[in-house]
């Protein structure tokens, strides 16, 4: 599903380039007319709900009463200092309500690790597909795409079956006589969440990387070899920088949704593997504090958004370098 990454990445660069013509105003009107049903739906069901979420985050809830006076109380609560000190992973938190801060940091680290693992796993595969596979490319591409579209829930669940206390790995190793006690550190920890996330998204990321490798002008690689570059040097100086923008934008499409993932930590994370999505869910349901849940969601999106901006700046930098190289 490379076009998804592609369309998202170069939104707006599409469409035939035609010269100026007098009917341009009419063309624009027809364009908006054709677009309006989809656009109205997206405004009604995406923009308005997000706006509602923002409004809700400025309200407060205590018990069953919702106070509609606009206030920054929820946001303040997230950063409210306190004398009590909580140490998590060597970081000292002096916060009155440290759970969201800890979970956000933890989610970002876990998701970033999973994203990096995804790239490292997918890049050689994409390289193989772009430079080694000569026949049956379409079959390879379908083989790589299919897992991404089969139920996310089931892919996560299958890891529970594989890693579980009475799961496939433990029972397999025991029946082979390699261990006599089930290993209990396989499931219900951050490691299991990261493995599962990487597995779930790796089939999504191969194709965008493949496309950015496929776009590289082969004559450039030949020229490098003719001029005496070794294979490794050629890879480092041409292939890698030229494929970097596509790889980073693909990585963003993995990083962004995984930070807020709910299913994976719930199923394989256990108490130690919870992420921010679980907190949002709890605030909206069990803890009955939807305004706080809204504030946490918005802070999470703002943080993800600013990280994405940094990534995009990186892409710009790589593009510039790539242009200089060519």
């Amino acid at each position: 599903m490379v076009e998804v990454a592609d369309t998202a990445a170069r939104a707006g660069l599409l469409g035939p380039r035609r010269g100026r013509d007098p009917g341009r105003r009419r063309e624009a009107l027809t364009g908006f007319g054709l677009l309006s049903p989809a656009l109205l739906l997206m405004i009604a069901m995406l923009a308005l709900p997000l706006a509602a979420l923002i409004v809700l985050s400025f309200w407060t809830q205590s018990g069953f009463t919702l106070d509609r006076t606009p206030t920054l109380a929820n946001y303040w609560r997230l950063i409210e200092p306190s004398d009590r000190e909580i140490v998590w992973m060597g970081i000292h938190f002096h916060l009155a309500y440290p759970v969201p801060a800890i979970l956000i940091i933890k989610s970002l680290v876990m998701s970033l690790t999973a994203t990096v693992a995804t790239i490292l796993l997918a890049y050689p595969m994409a390289y193989f597909l772009a430079f080694r596979v000569k026949r049956n490319k379409a079959a390879w591409i379908i083989l790589l795409t299919v897992p991404f579209w089969t139920s996310y829930l089931l892919r996560v669940f299958s890891w529970k079956v594989v890693l579980g206390f009475n799961g496939a790995i433990n029972s397999g190793l025991m029946s082979l006589g390699i261990i006599d006690q089930p290993l209990d550190f396989l499931l219900y920890n951050p490691g299991a969440v990261m493995i599962t996330l990487a597995h779930s998204w790796v089939s999504f990321i191969v194709l965008p990387i493949y496309v950015s490798l496929e776009k590289i002008d082969r004559t450039m690689l030949e020229a490098a070899s003719d001029l005496g570059d070794s294979k490794w040097k050629r890879f480092r100086r041409i292939t890698l920088p030229l494929s970097m923008p596509g790889t980073i934008s693909a990585a963003l499409l993995v990083f962004i949704p995984t930070v807020g993932d709910y299913v994976t930590p719930e199923l394989v994370g256990g108490p130690g593997g919870t992420m921010i999505g679980s907190l949002v869910q709890q605030l909206f349901t069990k803890q009955n504090n939807a305004p706080m849940g809204a504030a946490v969601s918005i802070v999470m999106m703002l943080i993800i958004g600013s990280l994405v901006l940094i990534f995009l700046t990186l892409i710009g930098y790589w593009r510039m370098r790539a242009r200089r190289a060519s």
């Binding site: 599903m1 490379v2 076009e3 369309t7 998202a8 939104a11 707006g12 599409l14 035939p16 035609r18 624009a28 364009g31 054709l34 677009l35 989809a38 656009l39 739906l41 069901m45 995406l46 308005l48 709900p49 509602a52 979420l53 809700l56 080694r132 379409a138 591409i141 379908i142 790589l144 299919v146 897992p147 579209w149 139920s151 996310y152 829930l153 089931l154 892919r155 669940f157 299958s158 079956v161 579980g164 799961g167 496939a168 029972s171 029946s175 597995h199 499409l253 962004i256 807020g260 993932d261 709910y262 999505g277 949002v280 869910q281 909206f284 809204a294 969601s297 999470m300 999106m301 994405v308």
Partner: protein
């Protein structure tokens, strides 16, 4: 030598992405109530046990109805939008397109709670399968739009200009030229929308009322060790069905693209 290394890696890679998932069908035909090695023998009793479970069948019917409706609606909205994006110039196109692609980069839990807030607190509508379907249209639309945009870009817009020059009305041009040429894209958009909605869990989990969709039902079963064999069998059936649909969608789309644009992805 390096070529061989990569080939070996590719084989391991395929084994890695398929291996864990194939555990489900493997244990679903194992004659045991646990998913453990060594295998105990072949049986289909876990599949037979699924038949007649009313909550499961109800959930299946709900999911099929929602997925069918969502895929048709999302595609119907995406076709004119894709034509606008590929064939018309208008101000603010990048912003509009980025906005339409937004569901791709918003965590589904945020989408789910945002829809929950507006439905319950601002509109006061009861949660039902309708609210699930509404949420699913939003997340399917960017995928349908991407597939259709890439299909419409795949053939020459000059064909449509020629058709207009030869006196066809815009509607005639659409029905006689654009629609048939975009056909494979439309079919794969329908199939993709169907699969996405059929498999979607988080939004359905938050927005459903008293009735379940299949993934929500499946999730409720995952907690009970007793229902593991049935869950494995049900999961395997879902995997087979969605794999068949995805392969179909991809084959149709690729055939369509390749026939006029050899070498294109």
């Amino acid at each position: 030598m390096r070529g061989w290394g990569l080939t070996v890696y590719a084989v391991f890679f395929i084994a890695f992405i398929y291996g864990p998932v194939l555990i489900l069908p493997l244990f679903s035909v194992n004659d045991s109530n646990f998913a453990t090695f060594p295998m105990a023998g072949f049986t289909l009793r876990h599949y037979a046990g699924l038949w007649g479970q009313k909550p499961l069948l109800d959930a299946l019917v709900n999911s099929l109805k929602i997925a069918a409706g969502v895929s048709v609606l999302a595609t119907a909205l995406a076709v004119p939008a894709a034509i606008a994006v590929t064939r018309h110039r208008f101000p603010g196109k990048p912003a509009v397109l980025s906005f339409m692609m937004l569901p791709l980069v918003i965590p589904s839990i945020v989408m789910a709670v945002a829809l929950l807030v507006i439905v319950l607190r601002f509109l006061g509508i009861q949660l039902s399968l309708w609210t699930v379907a509404a949420g699913h249209v939003v997340i399917c639309l960017p995928f349908c739009l991407s597939v259709l945009v890439s299909r419409l870009e795949g053939f020459d817009a000059a064909l449509e200009e020629a058709s207009r020059d030869l006196g066809c009305s815009p509607m005639q041009t659409f029905w006689r030229l654009t629609f048939p040429l975009a056909g494979p894209g439309i079919i794969s958009s329908l199939l993709l929308g169907f699969i996405i909605s059929f498999d979607e869990f988080v939004i359905a989990f938050f927005l459903t009322g008293t009735e379940n969709t299949l993934p929500v039902y499946l999730y409720s079963q995952l907690r009970f060790p007793n229902s593991l064999p049935g869950t494995l069998a049900l999961g395997s059936l879902i995997l087979v069905a969605s794999t068949a649909l995805v392969v179909l969608a991809e084959v149709i789309r690729r055939r369509g693209v390749q026939s006029d644009n050899p070498g294109d992805l």
